[in-house]
């Protein structure tokens, strides 16, 4: 069965999320919760110099939160960590299809949590 509430791209990532789980040797990690809807997101990041070597995530959240987090783990791998600045709602919608208006906060949660995990990298050398 298909569901038309979300784009095929979002649903594909939701049904088969990439890089779910803990990264034991992460350089940085962060957990954030959307205080309104209650979604919880956690990112783990490992760097190789300034380059993102691996990203994993865990989430207790709605379709866009999981799908955007999953997409981000693939997209950021091998990129300089500063490239996170390219991640915004327009980027996500170009890649995965549009979000319903009441779901836009999912994009903000993903970017905020990932940025916090990257900031954590300098503070938490393993």
């Amino acid at each position: 069965m298909e569901n038309s509430a979300y784009s095929p791209g979002l649903l594909e990532h939701y049904r088969a999320p990439r890089n779910v789980g803990v990264l034991p040797d992460a350089d940085g990690t962060a957990t954030r919760q959307n205080q309104v809807c209650g979604d919880v997101l956690q990112f783990f990041v490992r760097l190789s110099g300034e380059t993102v070597d691996e990203v994993r995530f865990k989430a207790e959240g709605c379709i866009p939160t999981v799908a955007l987090a999953s997409y981000t783990t693939e997209w950021l791998r091998g990129k300089k960590k500063g490239e996170i600045e390219r991640l915004d709602l327009a980027h996500f919608e170009d890649a995965l299809g549009s979000l319903p208006p009441h779901k836009i906060h999912a994009a903000a949660l993903v970017v905020e949590t990932l940025r916090a995990a990257l900031c954590d990298c300098g503070r938490n050398p393993h």
């Binding site: 069965m1 989430a59 999981v66 009441h102």
Partner: protein, 385 residues
């Protein structure tokens, strides 16, 4: 894979017998029921027959049934109609925090017009505390509006006791009975409600048609103004096909009440018992005082929309009280009023049955839902097996 529809509290499939009853009123008997020619009078006769069918289902007099466009209009009409009619007597209305938005939004609007509204909390079971109700009554209270059955958790409120309390102080009682009609017996001959709201599409009738029961001698100012339809209580040309469909649906619902109490309750209970075996699963609402077709459960460390869409992708339709699942960012006001932890509301699902469900439907849910819950928990940052 056969689709499984377990969202019957949102809307029901129209019974084929209802469709059959309605069809002639689109193409053959299309007259305006207010017209005195034959086309009109045949439509009038059909509308009055339907009025009788609905009245018989609830033990009311036919003249006490006013057709509206649905439950929302019935609620608006009842609340505004009594509030305005009785304004000289008082300006205080009592309702509960778990009412349908049709009641809550109307009360909020009335507050802006100078009325005072008390929104009573409910117990963790979802039931109203009658002592709280008694304490909330003031000399200026003119109306108490308490839903018969809650649409999310199925809890049945003690309407007879509420009527006793109110009528002793000459206060009118309205109840949104949209979720009880056709699910459990309603006898307005013995239950002394003054006003009651009904909807057609919750009991295998069409959408866009509802009714308001207005007890004989209860006066209310009309909400919809215009012609003298519905004995000057609701203006607007009668939706005769919808009325005929609602009438037929009410007749059929009456014949299936026993089945709701036995076969449908059995399916609901078996589904619920099996799902409660999943660790970290809790029931929302009272176990005993509820309609036979609703089960509302919370699955810890999951998220309702994800559960809902995952089930939908398997062909199973349910609903959730989770935030941002229906265009709103707010979690279910009903589950919040029960005092549920936000995380429990986050992972809540409502399963609502009808007589058209089968044992295969619940078996299908049991085949797929435990795996979906397990998968979501394995992704949760806060879950440890």
């Amino acid at each position: 894979m056969n689709p499984v529809y377990l969202d019957n509290s949102a809307s029901t499939p129209v019974d084929p017998q209802v469709v059959e009853a309605m069809l002639p009123y689109f193409t053959e008997i299309y007259g305006n029921a207010s017209s005195i020619h034959t086309y009109g009078q045949r439509a009038r006769a059909a509308a009055e027959e339907a009025r009788g069918q609905i009245a018989r289902l609830v033990g009311a007099g036919a003249k006490e049934v006013v057709f509206t466009s649905g439950g929302t209009e019935s609620d608006n009409t009842a609340l505004r109609g009594v509030a305005y009619q009785q304004r000289d007597r008082g300006n205080h209305i009592i309702t509960s925090q778990i009412e349908h938005p049709a009641v809550l939004s109307t009360c909020k609007a009335l507050e802006l017009e100078g009325f005072e509204v008390t929104y009573l909390p409910v117990e963790p079971s979802g039931l109203l505390d009658l002592d709280r109700l008694r304490a909330a009554i003031t000399p200026r209270t003119t109306l108490i509006s308490i839903m018969h059955v809650n649409n999310e958790i199925g809890t049945i409120q003690p309407l007879a006791e509420i009527c006793d309390l109110a009528h002793g102080q000459k206060i009118l009682v309205h109840s949104d009975c949209v979720q009880s009609l056709g699910k459990i017996p309603i006898d307005l001959g013995s239950l002394p409600l003054d006003l009651a709201s009904f909807s057609g599409h919750k009991l295998h009738g069409p959408k866009g048609i509802g009714a308001l029961f207005v007890r004989k001698n209860v006066r209310l100012r009309p909400f919809m103004l215009g012609g003298s339809h519905e004995r000057k209580r609701r203006a607007g040309t009668e939706n005769v096909p919808g009325i005929v469909g609602f009438g037929k649906a009410a007749e059929l619902a009456g014949r299936h009440l026993d089945e709701m109490a036995t076969r449908v309750r059995g399916m609901r209970d078996r589904l619920e018992t099996a799902l409660l075996q999943i660790s970290g699963t809790i029931r929302n609402g009272d176990e005993k005082q509820r309609v036979p077709n609703i089960s509302n459960l919370s699955f810890e460390h999951t998220e309702g929309e994800g559960l809902l869409i995952s089930l939908d992708l398997e062909g199973i339709a349910v609903s959730t009280g989770a935030a941002c699942s229906s265009g709103s960012l707010e979690p279910s006001h009903v589950l919040v009023a029960l005092g549920r932890d936000k995380r429990d509301v986050h992972g809540s699902l409502r399963f609502s049955f009808s007589r058209m469900n089968t044992e295969n439907d619940l078996q299908r849910v049991l085949e797929v839902l435990p795996t979906i819950v397990q998968r979501m928990r394995s992704m949760s940052p806060s879950f440890s097996a």
